[in-house]
Amino acid sequence: MKLESSAKWRIRGLGRRAAGRTEGDLLGEAVTATLSGERRWNKTKVSLVGHLLGVMRSISSHWRRDFDPDEEPTLESDLATTTGDGGVLRRFDLVPSAEPSADRVLEAKERVEAIEQAFADDPVVSLILEGMREGMSPADVRSELSLSQTEYETAMKRLRRKAAAVATGGGSDA
């Protein structure tokens, strides 16, 4: 159950970067990576479920980078060549823009705002969301808000439950 739930959030986080892949694909790939030895399972330190959760985190991150290869920047000057008539061919002009498309941004905006709206009367979750908006890690958010682990997890539980209802999309619920 945890595997399915975690995979679902990862796929939703990828949005269109999931490129049609489902939580089943993510979990299946995590199993394959483990069986092939590409990802080693340290049985003495972590359960199989814990291991697969970590592998899914890593694979989804790879999928995101694969979708946005510009995260490893290439200088346009490296690619510019002189044409036969003395002009300069800028290869970036031939490549579709890597900028997020307007509908992708709009979709993300709507989903983020729906989540924020759903927690307008929940100050703890609202502050957690604000921390995330600032790019803080969950540990930093917890520390910044002086929340105990239990308080943080209770708030995240509320976030999971409502977000499941308002932030659907980007993956299969099947």
Partner: protein
Amino acid sequence: MPEKQRDYEAELRTIMDALAESVANASDDEVIAEAREAGKDPARVAERVREILKRAVIAFEQRRLREAEQAYERRVASIRERRYPIPAAADRRRELLDRIVTRKPELGAALLTLQNREFRNLTDADIQSCLEQLGALGVLAEFEASGKP
């Protein structure tokens, strides 16, 4: 001063990743309760996850089997492509096989069935095949190097 433009895609990703992380710390009971609230049947979800795991294991095993088959086929093709010092004339091939089996009876026992030990029933193609197998084993090179053993 204009407000910094929000990166909604990054924000959504951060929230979803934090939710994925939070599942790891949730109790099984909580995860089951959340599935029920979302209108899912936990038993069906668990069954589906088991099915995904099983399919991934089977696919991996099949992939390994395919890789082993491909490696075997490559080795066989490589052996077939090799050229061995086999005489062109059929009687010389028969003579060479006779010499090898006489000198190395253990190879004869491995290659030939009992009724073929006298070579009477062996066709030219059988002898060619035997010599190719001996070539792949490196036996022909040994006979060639020592001239006429």
